[in-house]
Amino acid sequence: MTTRDIEFGLNSFGEVSRDPSGRLLSEAETVRLMIEEAVLAESVGIDLFSIGEHYRHQHVDSAGHVILATIAGRTERIRLGTSVTVLSTQDPVRLYAEFATLDAASNGRAQLIVGRASSTESFPLFGFDLADYETLFEEKLDLFTRLLRDQPVTWSGTVRSPLTDQFVRPAIAPGSIPTWVGVGGSPQSVIRAARYGLPLMLAIIGGPPSRFAPYVDLYKRALDQFEHPRLPIGMHSIGLVARTDEEARAAHWPYWEAVMKLASKERGFSVPSPDQYAAEIADGALFVGSPETVATKIAATVRTLDLSRFDLKYDLVGLPQVSRATTIELFGREVIPRVRELLEDEPGLSDDRLAAANTPGSHV
C-alpha cells in the first residue's frame, strides 16, 4: 500500500481582475498579474500553473504559451500547462514547436491539456467550421501525439498538408511532455483518450462530481481493452478559498452570478438561484469556502473519482486581485497539505485496482 500521489494545479482563463480601489485592470495589467500569480503559486507550493485558451471579452489567455514562457523565466519548479488548448483550431506542428521550446526553456516543465473547451470562438476566428469538430480533433490529436512520441513523422490527413519523414525542432525525449485529454462528459471523448493512451482530465463545472464516476469506469475499462497501462485521472473545477466559508461566499457569489447570467443567455438555461448556488457548494462542483471546507471536499472527490490531479480555477471576470491572491495562498499553504493529510495512509486505490486488473480472468 502506498499513499496516493496527487498533483495540485492552479488554472486561469485570463479573466480581468480589479485593483484594491475597485478599478478594473486593463487587459495588459491582467496578463502581468497572471505572471505574478504564477510566481506566488510556486512560492506557496502549488505544483502546476495552467492557462486556458479563449478569444472573448475580458479574457486575456489567447496566447497562453507566451505567458507560460515568461513564467518559466521567473520560476524554477512549478510545472507549466494549458487548460485547455483548443487543438481543433491549432496547427499541431506549430503547437509541438511551441511546447517543445517551452519545455526546453523551462527545463522540462511544459505540459498540456487538449480538448474542445466549452467556448468555441476560435472556430470562426481561424476559419474553421464547428461542424467539422470531430474530424479536426481526431486527426490533429493523431498528428500531435506522433510528433510528441515518434519523430520523424510521416502523416497524411484531410485537415492539413501531409508530412514525410519530418523532424520538428527542438527534439524532446519521446513522450516526455505530458498531454492530457480534457472531456466534459461525452463517452466517445473518454474512449478516445484511452485509445491514444493519454491521461484523462474531467472538466466538472456543475453538479455533483460523483456524476462522473461512470466515465471514470468507462475510461479504465477502455484502457484495459486497448491494453494500455492505468493512467492518471484529473479534474478541474471552479473555486475560491478565504478564511471562513462566509467570507468565501460573499467574495465569490457576485462574480459567479454575473458569469452565470451571461452563460445562461448564451446557452438558453435559467440563472441559478442563491439556493442552487449553496447546493453547488455543498454537494456540487464549486470549491468555495474555508481551507478546511475546500480540503475536505477535494479529498472526498479524490476518493470518489480515484483522482491523481486536481486543478482549481481561481479567476472570474471582475474578481478582485486580493481575493485571487488569498485563494492562491490558502490553496497552497493550507488546502494542499490538508488534502494530503486527509488522504495519508489511504491505500493507493489505483494500486489495488491495478492488482485486480492483473488477476487473470478479472477482465474479459
Binding site: L130, Q188, G207
Partner: protein, 220 residues
C-alpha cells in the same frame, strides 16, 4: 408494439452520446428492451453501452430501425442530415435534438426556423412520424429527475407532434421513463421546448408546464 404487455416494450435510440446513453439507462430501468447505435459499427460503442447503459444492445442504426417502432434521434444536430430521408419511414421518431450555435455552428435553416427545428427534421424525414420531446432537460437533469409515477414533486416533460397517435405513445413513454408527460400540441408548438423557449431547461411540475405552454399558445 409499445402499447402491448411489458414483454414487448421496445425502444430504439440513434446516437450513443450523453443523451442517448442517458435515455437508454432510463428506458432499461423502466423495463424496455433497448437497441442503440452510433455513427459506425456496433463494436465501436459496445464498451460505452456496456458501462453506461448495461442491458441495452449496441447495434447499427439500420438494426435500431428494424428493431423498434419508436426511435429516439439523439445525434449531434449538425449531423442528422447525414441520415437517409426514408430511414424512419412509418416510425415514431422522437426528435431529442437542440440547435445550439456554439456547438453546432452556423446553420441558417435551423437558426431561422420560425416554428422550431423539429419542423426541419420532419422535412428531412417526410415519412417519419416526428414527435418533439426528451430534448427539454440537460442530460444530468434528466438522469436525476426521474421519479416513479405519483411521487410528490415529479418533474414534467412535454412532447409535440402533428400525429396524435404517435404523440400519445410518446407521452406514455415519458411517463414510464419517470416524468409527468405534458401534451404540448402540434409540432410547431414544440418551439417552446427549445433553447430560448419558455419551457427549456427548467424542472417544472406538470401544472406549471401546462400553464406555461397554454399561455405561450395564447400569445402566439
Amino acid at each position: 408494439m409499445s402499447s402491448g404487455g411489458d414483454g414487448d416494450l421496445r425502444l430504439g435510440i440513434v446516437g450513443a452520446g450523453k443523451v442517448g446513453t442517458t435515455i437508454a439507462r432510463a428506458a432499461i430501468a423502466a423495463g424496455y428492451d433497448v437497441a442503440i447505435s452510433g455513427s459506425g459499427p456496433a463494436e465501436r460503442i459496445a464498451l460505452t453501452v456496456d458501462v453506461l447503459a448495461p442491458g441495452a444492445r449496441a447495434v447499427t442504426t439500420d438494426e435500431v430501425v428494424r428493431y423498434a417502432d419508436i426511435v429516439v434521434l439523439a445525434v449531434p444536430t449538425h449531423r442528422f442530415r447525414e441520415l437517409p430521408h426514408d430511414l424512419f419511414a412509418g416510425k415514431v421518431l422522437i426528435d431529442a435534438m437542440n440547435y445550439w450555435e456554439p456547438i453546432d455552428g452556423d446553420d441558417d435553416e435551423l437558426a431561422t426556423a420560425p416554428a422550431g427545428t423539429s419542423i426541419v427534421v420532419q422535412g428531412h424525414f417526410p415519412s417519419a412520424r416526428v414527435v418533439k420531446g426528451l430534448n427539454q432537460l440537460g442530460y444530468h437533469e434528466f438522469e436525476e429527475g426521474r421519479r416513479p409515477s405519483g411521487v410528490e414533486g415529479r418533474v414534467a416533460i412535454a412532447a409535440a407532434s402533428d400525429d396524435r397517435t404517435a404523440l400519445l405513445e410518446v407521452l406514455q413513454l415519458i411517463d414510464r421513463l419517470g416524468f409527468d408527460a405534458v401534451d404540448a400540441g402540434l409540432l410547431e408548438a414544440g418551439v417552446a421546448l427549445e433553447p430560448d423557449g419558455s419551457a427549456f431547461g427548467v424542472a417544472y411540475s406538470s401544472s406549471e408546464l401546462s400553464d406555461l405552454l397554454w399561455l405561450q399558445e395564447r400569445s402566439a
